[in-house]
Subunit: 300 residues, 2 copies
């Protein structure tokens, strides 16, 4: 019994998704197909990749070790098959784009729709996930990132800058006291962001101490905005998320004149040589799209 590319892709998908059911849902396959592919793959390799207990699976150490080698090998294979078409040949294959949820939903849709229309034979996959930290996960070609980059192994191109706003609801300030200077921040709590510590994304410089992180956290910017509107604390959020709430008064800006370092919005990709044509095309496309200031920055 031998393995197939589908077996490998399915294995990596299950590892990423954490369960057969989730991987099946993502791949639009039935659970039985995914389950069988995993079993067949294990039989072909002669090793258990997952342990089974009470209708749950857990990856083995072998699974992680195998994935570590399969991902680049599969990427090379795919890159090889996609490299062979001439420069004028239509783009084909599969381009996976990752990005933050709120940013993606708001600003990437039309841009990527335009790109997909321009390349009808290219399969485009969007995966919006605020927790995304590892471009090495199976199948991603490019990612959008907000903030200063931690992973220096990736190549980055800055698209624009994203100012943040420290906000609170009027109700919150009425109950907890106004904030008239940076020193006043110490007496307040901020709604936490599950995927990054406040100090990591604090844009006002080290001389302004951030408020302490409160007992409320969320893993999504829109959720944090809603919690802030509900009066549960201060929130440091991208302007594009709070723009409307600021305009209609549900939130107010805290210390709006404080100078800040704007957070960059970048597209990043792994340093594959030669660069796949589809990756080049996408990066050029999105750079063009962001060449002028985004709408949420006009008038602020």
């Amino acid at each position: 019994m031998s393995w197939t590319i589908s077996d490998i892709r399915t294995f990596l998908a299950v590892l990423d998704a954490g369960s057969i059911s989730a991987a099946a849902a993502r791949a639009d396959l039935s659970k039985s197909v995914v389950s069988k592919r995993i079993s067949d793959f294990e039989a072909a390799l002669g090793v258990a990749l997952f342990t089974r207990h009470a209708g749950r699976i857990a990856p083995t150490d072998s699974a992680f070790a195998l994935a570590e080698r399969l991902r680049p090998a599969l990427a090379d294979l795919v890159a090889a098959t996609e490299s062979v078409a001439g420069p004028e040949a239509p783009l084909r294959g599969r381009l996976a784009v990752a990005g933050p949820m709120s940013f993606g939903l708001r600003h990437l849709g039309p841009v990527i729709a335009g790109f997909a229309r321009a390349h009808p034979q290219l399969e485009v996959v969007l995966d919006y996930d605020d927790q995304l930290t590892d471009l090495g996960r199976s199948g991603f070609d490019v990612a959008l990132r907000i903030g200063w980059l931690r992973d220096s192994s990736l190549i980055a191109r800055r698209l624009c800058e994203d100012p943040h706003a420290l906000v609170a609801s009027p109700d919150y300030l009425a109950r907890h006291g106004p904030i008239l200077s940076p020193a006043d921040l110490a007496g307040h709590e901020a709604i936490g962001y599950l995927n990054a510590r406040l100090s990591e994304i604090w844009p006002f410089g080290p001389e302004v101490a951030p408020p302490r992180q409160g007992r409320i956290t969320a893993n999504n910017g829109d959720a944090m905005r809603d919690l802030a509107i509900g009066g549960l604390g201060l929130a440091l959020l991208p302007l594009f998320i709070v723009h409307d709430a600021l305009r209609d008064g549900r939130l107010v800006r805290i210390l709006p004149d404080l100078p800040q370092r704007r957070l960059p919005v970048s597209v990043v990709w792994p340093p594959t040589r030669p660069m796949p044509r589809k990756t080049r095309a996408f990066i050029d496309h999105i750079a063009d799209a962001f060449a002028e200031d985004p709408p949420w920055q006009r008038g602020v």
Copy 2:
């Protein structure tokens, strides 16, 4: 339409074999299957890999470029899947062994049969071909080589040494005159070896000039021996090929006391890291098998 591992393997096989019919024969598939896989692969990639004319195919430049990238990528994928089994797991997968035709037929059969019996889940492929020069051709894991190695990118382990004999038939010597000293060689012709120039494998050192290469050449040692027996010239051949013909007088040794550098017999493999377990196991096995002098060297 997407491609499969079978498509890739079939493409590389056709490139190696030079025709769909030959590749089909080698793979024990029908011509129509191989033809369809090539067509499907071309459709999936959106590029022509072969040109067709009057029932013949020829590879395009794209085919060579693609193969150059697919071979290592496929090898990485296979290595990854084979790396995952623990050290005590039975060897599985596919081990391809290349070697010279005559040597392989005579001396490798029992050795490799023993190895195959010890590892019942491992598929073993033997490819005896005197012209084999490129271990990079698809699918070879190890090769046996006779002679000094040209390709320093391979790792070699010497198994034994292989003396050669310069021989001729009594009839040839009766017609062309005896050879009493090295200087007499100049007046004679040697049957050529299609895969190596005589000067490349001449074991008697530069101070002994080889005879000139004649109009008769062959690509196989046994064929050269038979041509020598037929009186068509001198032949420089491994002892294991001419051993029996020397014993029964059909050939006689020329200048048998001339000191020579024995040609090494080595097993070679590419420097893959980590070394596949199957490759390690095979090399150890064949080194053990050749640890004592081979039978054709006893009594000479």
